[in-house]
């Protein structure tokens, strides 16, 4: 969340690419949610020194990005923006774990470097998976899937409301900060004193808005229960998608494909 404009743009852009019409976008949200979870669990369950074994999992983002026609550069940029936390925790590994676990000719590679590489690959894969889910399904789709899979109704309704008003209040916050910076000279008024009243005002407006929304809902017959009327159909295609990917993840988890492939190739070469 660097600048307000940029993050608001980000959300609406993801919203736009999530409403495309491709074979992936048309799948049932539940299929995509479950597949994403299976992917993440498979990736995370690897041993902490696993590096080569994780590589085949790249196939999932590659195929989904290609089939769903997603902008690769944009997604990569988003992944990199989120990288610092995993990087700063992972980068300590080479200092603490110095046992030599692998050799590349004359170069000895310590366990710390292996696990650091493993963390970064995991990070790349899991973050990409989350972004793929939202950019092929959209938040409304994810909410529906959550609801059908048994998440509490109050939580799902919450999420939908929040998402709906994110854009409205985001715009309002953008206007407030812009007005403040236009009136600020030499950094005056950017401190916490003005911040308190600025956000306080925004909060008061938000509360009034919530009251108006509630009245409007009452006018339309709201009785405390929000009904989501969007039929979902879990067709054979969706089942095939979920099971197919899950089976592939399982195979890739159980067999170190690159290691075997590499061994075979090296054998052929000599």
């Amino acid at each position: 969340m660097a600048t307000p404009d940029a993050s608001a743009f980000d959300i609406s852009y993801l919203d736009i690419i999530s409403s495309r019409e491709t074979s992936i976008h048309r799948l049932d949200p539940r299929a995509k949610l479950l597949t994403t979870l299976a992917f993440v669990v498979a990736v995370v369950s690897f041993d902490k020194y696993a590096v080569a074994g994780l590589v085949p999992f790249v196939i999932y983002p590659v195929v989904v990005i290609a089939l769903a026609d997603l902008p690769l550069g944009y997604l990569l940029k988003k992944v990199l923006l989120a990288a610092p936390f995993a990087f700063f925790i992972g980068v300590f590994n080479p200092f603490y774990d110095r046992e030599i676990l692998a050799r590349l000719g004359p170069i000895a590679v310590s366990g710390g470097w292996l696990s650091f590489a493993s963390i970064m690959i995991r990070f790349f894969l899991t973050v990409t998976a989350a972004l793929l889910l939202i950019s092929t399904t959209g938040l409304n789709g994810v909410c529906l899937a959550l609801e059908k899979l048994g998440a509490p109704r109050a939580f799902v309704v919450q999420l939908l409301f929040l998402y709906r008003y994110l854009f409205v209040l985001g715009d309002e916050a953008t206007r407030l900060t812009r007005a403040r910076s236009l009136r600020s000279f030499g950094g005056r008024g950017m401190g916490i004193g003005v911040f308190g009243s600025l956000v306080g005002q925004l909060l008061l407006r938000t509360l009034d808005r919530a009251r108006r929304i509630h009245l409007a809902m009452l006018c339309r017959g709201f009785d405390g229960e929000v009904r989501l009327l969007r039929p979902l159909r879990f067709a054979g295609m969706d089942l095939a998608y979920t099971l197919g990917w899950s089976a592939l993840f399982l195979v890739m988890r159980l067999y170190d494909i690159p290691q075997r492939l590499g061994t075979v190739i090296m054998e052929l070469l000599r």
Binding site: V44, A82, L101, A102, I119, V199, G200, A210, P258
Partner: protein, 355 residues
């Protein structure tokens, strides 16, 4: 402060998911009992408000950095703990999906760290105790500050524990704690101050809003104790079940590799790592018996044989021990990447031809 998927193990992620799911269901049920349907839109819009408020920064004098409002405390003050927890959960879900903050498996950890501690611990046990029945400006200030700081400290400690239990990083417990807690002390003070200022502003303008949440009868000491005990049980059960699963399943794989490789070629390289580590541990560990030692023992007993076994299993047919397997791994990984790339490129071309 968001945990990332890359740093947690499935057992930890699953346990925290179960705990968070339990808390979400509990909160949703409690909310239903209150049957105040004006809260439904209020919660959603306040969630969006927290996002919007985080876009507004203020400069912190003499540091050149900037701070913004934290979510959990102000939501608890305005909505009460149950509703606030649900709103925090939805905020973190949106952050995980749209901003790649954290991840899907780590979502349980994040909701727990940033939702449970402020809403169910810091708010009822600290803020309410300090502010009491009749709020005054100084009480609100003190209450918001102390509870925001302590809530965040607990959250940061949660991050440390979850990361260490996952065993993906090598950071020793003491170092990690010393890394996380002071940073979050600073963040907590700034957030607490911001929260206090906003609450005081609203309290002066419209006192009924701050008093509305009031001393909630739903969270009397007895019921809170029940929640905590129930939660603890849930965590222990799922944690036990999941770690059993984790230890039989993926480790079973390595165990079988170990068995098939036949012998234990333990060429454990002794570079004096252990002795220096042990010394280091004495200096750094707060709780010497706690995690690091276990980790070390585990490393000695499991990882080395496992790793060596894993690395040396193809070595039987192949003389150039680990150098060969590493090279094979890299060659194989490269080919896999290339194949994946070609598949993606091909699919893309087909897609374009179709349209």
């Amino acid at each position: 402060m968001h945990m990332a998927d890359a740093l947690i193990s499935p057992a930890v992620g699953g346990t925290m998911w179960a705990a968070t799911a339990g808390l979400t269901i509990y909160s949703a049920r409690k909310l239903k009992q209150e049957i105040d349907d004006s809260k439904v839109p209020l919660m959603g819009v306040l969630g969006a408000f927290v996002f919007a408020a985080q876009m507004i920064n203020f400069t912190i004098p003499a540091t050149g950095s900037s701070g913004h409002l934290g979510g959990g405390m102000i939501l608890s003050i305005l909505l009460g703990p149950h509703a606030a927890f649900l709103v925090m959960a939805s905020i973190l879900t949106v952050q995980a999906l749209f901003f790649a903050d954290g991840g899907l498996l780590a979502l349980g950890c994040n909701i727990f760290n940033l939702g449970f501690f402020p809403c169910f611990v810091a708010y009822p046990l600290i803020y309410r105790k300090i502010v009491g029945e009749t709020p005054t400006q100084s009480r609100i200030l003190a209450g918001a500050m102390v509870s925001a700081v302590l809530g965040l400290q607990m959250g940061a400690f949660g991050v440390v524990l979850e990361t260490l239990f996952s065993g993906v990083t090598e950071l020793p417990f003491g170092t990690f704690v010393l890394l996380m807690q002071p940073i979050h002390l600073a963040i907590g003070i700034v957030e607490g101050l911001a929260t206090a200022l906003v609450v005081i502003f609203v309290w002066k303008a419209r006192p009924e809003i701050v008093e509305m949440a009031g001393p909630s009868p739903a969270l009397a000491a007895g019921s809170l104790r029940k929640v905590l005990v129930g939660f603890l049980l849930l965590a222990v059960i799922t944690g036990g079940a999941l770690s059993w699963f984790a230890s039989t399943h993926p480790d079973g794989l390595e165990w079988s590799m170990f068995r098939t490789s036949g012998k234990e070629e333990l060429e454990a390289p002794e570079h004096g790592v252990h002795s220096s580590l042990a010394e280091f541990q004495k200096k750094t560990a707060f709780l010497p018996d706690y995690d690091f030692k276990k980790d070390r023992a585990e490393k000695e007993s499991n990882t080395e044989p496992k790793q060596e076994a894993a690395k040396s299993s193809p070595a039987e047919q192949w003389p150039a021990v680990s150098a060969g397997t590493s090279v094979a791994g890299i060659v194989g990984a490269g080919i896999t990447m290339a194949v994946a790339g070609i598949i993606g490129f091909g699919l893309k071309r087909r897609q374009q031809n179709k349209s």
